[in-house]
């Protein structure tokens, strides 16, 4: 039964990882730009939720729509004003640009908030549910539920709305999309905004689980990469699956083998998938 608890804890954390990585996957799937500032954008979301909580007393979950909207706007403007100019440029230039954006974000956060770890004191921070033999951390359950709802909302957006379908059309065939009169530049900006909104939402939920510091961003950028490569770069269900796999792998390897080897197992999983199925578990060849 102990193992069941460990697996469930891994799944709950993995769901939030999945939502975080989803933004990266959406952006790459459509615009074909790898967002190296992904973790930093999540940290911006975390600080935004933290500020709202401190100033207004609003719970990070309640602040989620506001932060998501703010990050959408941030992503939209960033793409329209800066990244769009680099779309046709070589990949190494895109890489350097986004690395510069990441560095600027971290330095700005450091100047604004300092290096101290900050968290939101919640009334239910220490609560847990006893569900039969399962002991479930309330915060983790809420974060995972939020993540699943976020993924469902995004899926519905891409399947059911005109803008969502237009974005998918751009992803499938950019030239074709332009021929039929779609405003590809605007759709790219909307896509980047959606990716940023996803990571902003993930930031709100992550604030429930961990303290925020400017320096944590790099680790999460790397984690997001592992997840999307595992699941398949550009695949939305793949990102969620990758998140869950990494969550469970970290939990089980930490418990059974050695907690210090948690990350090593995630990388081992990544290497295994790259060897057996280079396009990722749900990616297209």
């Amino acid at each position: 039964m102990l193992y069941l608890n460990i697996i469930v804890a891994g799944l709950l954390t993995g769901a939030v990882y999945g939502l975080m990585a989803l933004g990266l996957s959406v952006i790459f799937g459509v615009i074909r730009v790898v967002n190296f500032a992904h973790g930093e954008m999540m940290v911006v979301g975390m600080y935004a939720a933290y500020l709202i909580a401190v100033e207004t007393g609003l719970d990070p979950i309640a602040a989620l729509p506001l932060v998501t909207a703010g990050l959408f706007l941030f992503g939209y403007i960033l793409q329209r004003g800066l990244i769009n100019r680099y779309i046709a440029r070589p990949e190494h230039e895109q890489f350097l640009l986004l690395l510069a954006v990441a560095t600027i974000i971290t330095a700005s956060l450091l100047m604004g908030f300092g290096p101290d770890a900050r968290n939101v004191q919640l009334d239910y921070a220490y609560d847990s549910f006893q569900l039969g033999p399962l002991l479930l951390d309330k915060v983790r359950v809420l974060a995972a539920l939020g993540a699943v709802l976020g993924v469902a909302a995004l899926w519905a957006f891409f399947k059911l709305t005109r803008t969502g379908k237009a974005i998918r059309a751009c992803a499938d065939n950019q030239f074709g999309a332009e021929v039929v009169g779609l405003d590809v530049k605007r759709l790219y900006a909307v896509t980047f905004g959606i990716g940023a909104a996803c990571v902003g939402a993930a930031g709100c939920l992550m604030l429930l689980l961990i303290d925020v510091q400017p320096y944590i961003a790099t680790d999460y950028t790397l984690l997001a990469f592992i997840i999307v490569i595992l699941g398949g770069l550009g695949s939305m269900p793949g990102a969620l699956l990758g998140g869950l796999l990494v969550g469970v792998s970290e939990a089980l390897s930490g418990f059974v083998v050695d907690p210090s080897l948690k990350s090593a197992f995630s990388f081992a999983l990544l290497i295994l998938v790259l060897l057996v199925r280079p396009q990722g578990l749900l990616g297209r060849a």
Binding site: L2, N5, I6, A9, G10, T13, L110, G114, P115, D116, A117, N119, Q121, A125, Y126, D127, S128, L135, D137, V139, R140, L209, I210, D211, Q213, Y215, I216, D219, E250, A251, G254, F255, D258, P259, S260, K262, S263
Partner: protein
């Protein structure tokens, strides 16, 4: 056109040269009279920033308080960014900028890097905090440490366990050990494993769990510890991980007789007390601490609290202050900023009026102060409080501690 130097021009030139030489001599004399320049190296950013900033507060207090006590010096501050390679380059930079003596650097890895630079450049280095025993085992001539080695920390810290059990009449049989997996954690682990049989402790360690020093989630580690069903939860932590660990213990309803550290940072620190509130209560750390019986400890604590209300004046603050004081004291006695004179003065250090628990500050032939016993410090009413040794205690120890659900 050829120009012949007249006697008048020669006379003026000679006078000017004389004036320049005299001024030069003046400059040389003025240089000799400048106060000691202490290069302070601390991890003020990076993953140890919180503690580095805490140490920096103590440096700021020392800058004001020590001159009032008759010491003369100035401090050049540097940030190691919590990285040994940056610590090395910053130490080199401070020496280039004219630092006569270095002090720092909280972390063993960074301290090692600075010690090598100090030794290569022949500049004295006083370690405020840094416990790796190897640092003072290299035969260095310019390195002095006023902080216990991890072996001393482990020995002194573990010795207090028996004192605690005796004082409270409770004897646990098993323990689980969770430790941070960095230089400090590893050397503490080695020390604990080596000392456990020698110190005749009544309990056995049934599970040892190492974790990443930059871990953001310790739920699995804590689940593993809980599964061991041990009587006490022994920890070797830093700050953020101590907070994460305690949160998880509360969430997972993991109660033990006590959470005890045999000598590591984390549980006595301001942020731990602020963030965890009632759940920070009763945590025990066996570490060197400010001596409630020393007048200077009270003076320093008062100055620190006045300058930084709400911050805990802890072991880091105390040792950092003493680090600056040791440098200033050596200069006061040496009356010179030359490395040789400072090293000789450091070797002869004998400071009786100090901040921390223990006898005079004195260095042995390896440059290590061995008068650094540990106190048993328990968080009580939001303040780390000395509960053992009984002679220095402010309150009696509580052990076993109340379960998480009974904390108010």
């Amino acid at each position: 056109m050829k120009h012949h130097l007249s006697r008048r021009e020669f006379g003026l030139g000679a006078a000017a040269t004389g004036a320049v030489l005299a001024a030069g001599g003046g400059v040389t004399r003025a240089r000799a009279a400048t106060p000691l320049r202490i290069g302070s190296l601390l991890p003020r950013s990076g993953f140890e920033a919180l503690i580095g900033q805490g140490c920096q507060r103590s440096v700021e207090v020392a800058k004001k308080l020590l001159p009032e006590m008759g010491y003369s010096f100035e401090v050049i501050d540097a940030d190691t960014e919590s990285k040994p390679e940056v610590a090395r380059t910053q130490a080199e930079k401070l020496i280039r900028e004219g630092a006569n003596i270095l002090v720092g650097a909280f972390d063993s890895g960074q301290t090692f890097a600075i010690a090598q630079v100090a030794e290569q450049n022949g500049v004295p280095f006083v370690i405020n905090i840094g416990s790796d025993p190897a640092i003072t085992e290299q035969g260095y001539k310019f390195v002095f440490r006023n902080f216990p080695t991890s072996i001393m920390l482990g020995t002194n810290g573990l010795s207090r366990f028996n004192d605690l059990f005796k004082a409270t009449g409770t004897t646990p049989k098993t323990a689980v050990l969770m430790h941070v997996n960095d230089t400090f954690g590893q050397s503490m682990l080695k020390g604990i494993n080596a000392l456990m049989p020698k110190l005749n402790l009544p309990f056995q360690i049934v599970e040892t769990i190492a974790y990443d020093p930059q871990a953001k989630d310790l739920s699995i580690e804590v689940a593993k510890a809980k599964a061991a069903h041990a009587d006490i939860h022994m920890v070797v932590t830093r700050l953020n991980d101590a907070i994460l660990m305690t949160r998880e213990m509360v969430k997972q309803k993991y109660d033990t007789m006590a959470v005890i550290s045999p000598g590591s940072p984390g549980m006595y620190q301001t942020q731990f007390l602020k963030v965890l509130g009632k759940y920070a209560e009763y945590a025990i750390t066996n570490v060197p601490w400010l001596d409630p019986k020393q007048q200077l400890a009270h003076t320093f604590e008062a100055a620190f609290t006045k300058a930084y209300p709400g911050e805990v004046c802890d072991i880091d603050a105390g040792f950092t202050f003493e680090g600056i004081m040791i440098c200033a004291d050596a200069y006061k006695r040496a009356q010179s900023t030359t490395p040789e004179a400072l090293v000789e003065a450091l070797k002869a250090t004998d400071i009786k009026d100090r901040v921390m628990l223990g006898g005079s500050i004195k260095f042995n032939e390896k440059g290590q102060n061995i008068n650094l016993p540990s106190a048993c410090v328990q968080n009580r009413k939001g303040k780390p409080t000395v509960v053992l040794p009984a002679d220095n205690a402010e309150l009696k120890p509580v052990f076993p501690v109340p379960p998480w659900s009974k904390r108010t």
